[in-house]
Subunit: 397 residues, 2 copies
Amino acid sequence: MKATLSLLAIASALWSQLCLAQSTEPANDWKPAPSNQAGRQYPQVNSEGRVKFRIVAPKAQSVGVSFRDSSPFTRGEDGAWIGYTRPLDEGFHYYTLNIDGAEVPDPNSHYFYGSSRWGSAVEVPARDADFYALKNVPHGQLREIHYWSKSGNTNRHAFIYTPPGYDSSSRKRYPVLYLQHGAGEDETGWGSQGHAGLILDNLIAEGKAQPFIIAMEYGGNPFAGGPRPTNTPPVAAGSTNRPIPGPGGRGFNFSAFEKALVEDFIPYVDANFRTVAKPTHRAMAGLSMGGMQTRSIALTHLDTFSHIGVFSGGSIAVTNITDLAAFKKKVKLVFISYGSKELGGDRPNRGGDPKAQTAALKDAGVNAVFYESPSTAHEWQSWRRSLHEFAPLLFKN
Amino acid sequence: MKATLSLLAIASALWSQLCLAQSTEPANDWKPAPSNQAGRQYPQVNSEGRVKFRIVAPKAQSVGVSFRDSSPFTRGEDGAWIGYTRPLDEGFHYYTLNIDGAEVPDPNSHYFYGSSRWGSAVEVPARDADFYALKNVPHGQLREIHYWSKSGNTNRHAFIYTPPGYDSSSRKRYPVLYLQHGAGEDETGWGSQGHAGLILDNLIAEGKAQPFIIAMEYGGNPFAGGPRPTNTPPVAAGSTNRPIPGPGGRGFNFSAFEKALVEDFIPYVDANFRTVAKPTHRAMAGLSMGGMQTRSIALTHLDTFSHIGVFSGGSIAVTNITDLAAFKKKVKLVFISYGSKELGGDRPNRGGDPKAQTAALKDAGVNAVFYESPSTAHEWQSWRRSLHEFAPLLFKN
């Protein structure tokens, strides 16, 4: 009996230690992140979605990362600092290193434009990453263009995705999706971290979406300072000069972008690409601020757009619609989406509950669809999935 | 007399101090560099070509930059470190910051691929920057493509510049320049820091060059580690996966790239773009390692290429040519260039003096041209100028 109790006590103690180890030690199955620069072994991601960093900084007093609740960074004898994050959501996350008070990019990661700067981000591989994987299927092209904006009296810069097969026919014409980034991002976002081209390539290869053109312009940045001087060369493929101050200064005023989009960009795209230049064959969508712009611009230009996508950018209430009969005639699709972690509980949603509002739209006879991205927040995995759900519904007319 | 001497002594002392000030104090006409991220005030460049950096690092013990002979960085009361370089050549320079031993990108600059990493670079505005300025002229497109490589059994990634007007005709066919980056760089280089598209746009607008296609592939990196896993999505527009180990490990072995170029890339470009698929309408050129590849590949494929450009990558001696009569018949142009600071004095040039060798080629009846970029070294301003001089000579047949 005594021996049995002792054994139980030992087993219990061992179990406690095991549980403690499980709760404090990250799973030791680290792999280099897909967002690393070629050949770089760090950052690494484990099966819990934690990200581990290694920064050589032999004379630093402190090293840290912008992810909240990260472990303290500790310095090894090789002068390299190691630290890791809490488990992160699947998908793509911007971050910054802090080395003795200096906020700098991680020298090991690729760089992306977001949070109003070019800087680091890490990809935590998602279970559904296959829908934007690079496969041996026919690929479209991502085209960097410069064009003259009469409304702004300056050069503007944009990206156009043309679907597979675009160049092999000289007659076929395509619908166009105008697709906008979020605040603090720019026209590079959807083609780079958004994987818009690969999402469409794969959907088209599977016969799940019509081939269409995606046009991606710069929608302004309410958080940024003044514009860059005009007529300077862009300094990098994928970088931009800043010809239009966007939503004039801080705050959301989309009138300059609305003018550039409607008066310059759409006519340019229609004149220079083989589009079907009709409202029935034009969609507008965007994420976050781009979704707000879509609601603001598309809803007031129903003679321009017929398909509307709002990703994490609010929703459309029946009461927003002045002439429901005309709206139903002109609007072929309203698509509203959010990451599940943006919804419910005590989180306020701009202008009402988007799921309920979309259901009400549907009840009122509008072709309205609500999509909830599982277990993601206000980040790119929600928006990649939103595009993946939205694209097959487009241009079915 | 005594008063005169005193005055002279005072004047002399003042003059000395003035000269000292002139020799040690940089000219105070700093302006933000065109390579800065939008809205960033630093780095700044002055009329002497010095670059001044400002890095907020309140707890750092030391801050420095990779440019040799830079001033020590000093910390202000605001926690920002300031330092500046010696006068640099006009043009584009890669650099890295050092913060307490950590080599990191400057958070203020745009990022470029060079020196085998994505990182910082600064543009010292050149007197002749107008030839790659963004102007209100018709623009070509820089197209990012993915295609399947049979020789490598993998996806490959490249950029294609199509000239202005390419899309407005469905019949016109174009010659192609295959244009290669240097060692430690990749297929993004010419379209980004090289400004190849803007150089061509401007030359074509001025009637100085025939419109042609530029095809830019990844030629491998002798300094890099292993390849990235294949079939992973590219993580950024302008980033690449690394399907082919390039010149296998350290050292220059171009056979894998030669195979990918000749067996996969050229057939892909001819099948998917409106090219004139004849050797008379194909050129190959490259900078540094890309020039070595051009000599190695083009010279052994004279049934593929007829125009050859070697920028800072050696030259071609008459003795390199086995059948001069056949060479003269097939090769329409040999263009060799260097930055002036790479030439002369006691600097060794790979395989002989390039200027003398090119003159000898010309004497032997080859259409050979030598170009020397004034006051530049082994850097991008030499290569931008080389392309600007080379392009008007192409496809005159």
